[in-house]
């Protein structure tokens, strides 16, 4: 079991900087997800760990070995590619055995490991088939099998579920979680799908614009976003971010949005001086009610177990609210919204997030 230490890593393609002074520690046996929008540098960072991209500056350590100057094959990592990257003319068994043959593992040992992996991944009957004869899900399992047989120190997954349909993605997600429990290895998953990151990872690394925005457990990222980007990116539908002014009432910040006061539990003591405050409210903290802030319904999304109501406050500020699954709210209706200020967040002009004390 090896941990990973990424120290001040930077990378540019030509004049385009893709990673800027990124540092990160990953504990042995930890499952980490790199989450971020397209172009944020998450795949590049993964490929740098794998050795498929060079490191312009900084160091990467796996266990106690510095690996950034080693070729990919000598880093003790296995990568599951987004498009599987199976060798098309080799059988499933040969695909899994190829890496082991190249390092001179004994034939009996190769057969044992391939059969073990095939059993774990339910590929038993498919070992003689070529990749062209497999479904997308089966190919994905072969790609994972190819990684397992190597007994790597570190598993890397580059958006492994993005090519699967919705039902298969959910099933494979579950399988990945079970696999992780069985293998007890350090794993890094790159994804732009927050559900994958939230459900699989011990910790999530949220990235944007060449930098790490926040590292934390899924609930920490969700409940205490470090900045306005993380707040907006994680959670579906996105957090409402409303322009506000703040004032002190009893040591806690009260936000004034569209002329109405929303009492938060964010302590005034920790807040910097800022002219441009924004109030962050998850849709589940804004409920359709008989009284409260007046709003007009713009659009209604009925999801079955709940209804999402996209409304506008009296000053035109858009806000997303929740209602019961059997809501009768319709487009154009005048409604009232009850806002749970105790779970609200504040973001300063620089975008930094401030939250209620955890005990509160």
């Amino acid at each position: 079991m090896s941990g990973i230490d990424i120290k001040n890593v930077s990378k540019a393609f030509g004049t385009t900087q893709v990673l800027d002074d990124v540092s990160l520690q990953i504990a042995p046996n930890e499952f980490i997800a790199f989450l971020g929008p397209s172009g944020c540098g998450k795949t590049t960072l993964l490929r740098m760990i794998a050795g498929l991209e060079t490191v312009d500056a900084g160091e990467i350590h796996i266990g106690d070995r510095r690996v950034d100057d080693l070729p990919p094959g000598q880093r003790g990592v296995a990568l599951v590619f987004q498009n599987y990257a199976l060798y098309p003319h080799m059988s499933v068994a040969d695909n899994m055995a190829f890496g082991l043959k190249n390092i001179g593992v004994a034939k009996d040992e190769i057969r044992r490991r391939v059969e073990d992996a095939a059993r774990i991944l339910e590929l038993d009957g498919l070992l003689a088939r070529k990749p062209g004869e497999l479904s997308g899900g089966q190919k994905q399992r072969v790609a994972i099998g190819r990684a397992i047989v190597k007994n790597p120190d570190l598993f890397l997954f580059d958006e492994p579920l993005s090519n699967l349909d919705a039902a298969l993605r959910m099933r494979t997600r579950l399988e990945l979680a079970q696999l992780r429990r069985r293998l007890k290895a350090t794993m890094i998953l790159v994804t732009h799908d927050q559900v994958e990151a939230m459900t699989l990872a011990d910790r999530i690394v949220v990235m944007k614009d060449r930098k790490v925005q926040q590292v934390g457990s899924p609930m920490e990222i969700y409940a205490r976003p470090a900045n306005v980007f993380v707040a907006g990116f994680v959670g579906s539908p996105s957090m409402n971010i409303l322009k506000a002014t703040i004032q002190d009432e009893g040591g806690f910040a009260v936000a004034i949005v569209a002329g109405t006061k929303i009492a938060t539990r964010v302590p005034m003591a920790g807040l910097p001086a800022s002219d441009h405050w924004r109030l962050g409210l998850r849709p589940e903290c804004v409920k359709v009610s008989n009284d409260g802030h007046p709003a007009t319904v713009e659009f209604v999304e009925r999801l079955g177990e709940r209804t999402l109501v996209y409304a506008k406050l009296s000053d035109g500020t858009p806000v997303t609210a929740e209602d019961a699954g059997n809501s009768r709210v319709a487009m154009g209706d005048a409604i009232h919204l009850r806002i749970d200020g105790a779970r609200a967040h504040l973001f300063s002009g620089t975008g930094d997030g401030y939250h209620a004390d955890e005990a509160a």
Binding site: N83, A85, L86
Partner: protein, 292 residues
């Protein structure tokens, strides 16, 4: 209902009719009429007389024809393997995006755009015994000139060298385009699998190119069986018939001796040889693919 469906199907044939008419008039009709012609003793400007298979019987006893068949097979053996393998290595070397590779791709392809007249002119200046480039170099080194074009043992090899030089470009481009179809992530997976340069070439690249190798081999086979321009322009089939291929024989019989029935019969034999060679290659390689 059935009749209506049938008439609708026939009206669909109108879409393919223009191609079909051109195909029938320009390919099938000449092919069939050539087959018919081979059964006649016919003069280019005179009458014709049905002789059955006599033209074919004559051909199999005609030493000039048999020599041209042997020459053609020898030439195909000399040219098709290098024209299948050398462009493959060139493509492997030049499958990069830097400027040097682009220049060399252009250089190697440039010979393909020349006409056979220019190609033979260039190579005659290189190979001729009196004042040729090769002869001058040999003289400067104190040796005698090699009679590339007048030695019966060397002349077909010379034709093969000229042809390989001339025809390298297209197969190289076919290989390059096939190489660019191989997804980059397969090579990255191989890197992570500790696969060295040769192992990657042998286990990843070459299997990915196998269809193109077959295509190039069949294509070159068909092409080189039809050798004509190079010996016609450089040696006129000499010395002593040593560089006369089947097509040159057909040309001489048909258009110099005007015996077009006999020439047509020789054409049918060439057609049969090319068809057979192509089918054999196709079946051998497709069976190998299935078994692998």
């Amino acid at each position: 209902m059935g009749a209506r469906a049938a008439s609708r199907q026939w009206s669909n044939a109108l879409f393919v009719a223009p191609y079909l008419i051109a195909y029938l008039c320009l390919l099938i009709f000449p092919l069939v009429s050539g087959m018919g012609l081979s059964l006649f003793k016919a003069d280019l400007f005179g009458g014709r007389e049905f002789v059955g298979l006599e033209n074919f019987a004559r051909l199999f006893k005609d030493t000039v024809f048999l020599q041209s068949v042997a020459n053609t097979f020898y030439f195909v053996l000399l040219t098709v393997p290098p024209l299948t393998v050398i462009p493959l290595f060139l493509a492997l070397l030049l499958n990069r995006s830097d400027r040097t590779a682009a220049i060399f791709r252009g250089v190697f392809f440039s010979s393909s755009v020349l006409s056979v007249t220019i190609v033979t002119l260039i190579w005659r200046m290189i190979l001729m015994t009196e004042g040729g480039l090769a002869a001058n170099i040999r003289h400067a080194m104190g040796f005698d000139a090699i009679p590339f074009l007048s030695d019966p043992n060397l002349v077909m090899i010379s034709m093969a060298i000229i042809t390989v030089w001339w025809c390298l470009g297209l197969p190289m481009m076919l290989y390059l385009s096939a190489l660019q179809q191989v997804p980059q992530d397969i090579y990255e997976a191989a890197e992570l699998d500790n696969s060295g340069w040769f192992r990657t070439l042998w286990s990843i690249t070459l299997p990915a190119l196998s269809r193109t190798v077959i295509l190039v081999a069949i294509f070159q086979c068909v092409l080189q069986f039809q050798l004509f321009g190079q010996p016609q322009l450089i040696t006129q089939g000499g010395p002593n018939g040593a560089s006369r291929p089947i097509v040159l024989f057909i040309f001489e019989v048909g258009f110099r001796r005007w015996d077009i029935g006999y020439a047509a019969a020789a054409s049918q034999i060439l057609f049969g040889i090319i068809l057979l060679a192509t089918l054999i290659q196709y079946f051998v390689t497709s069976r190998k693919q299935v078994s692998s």
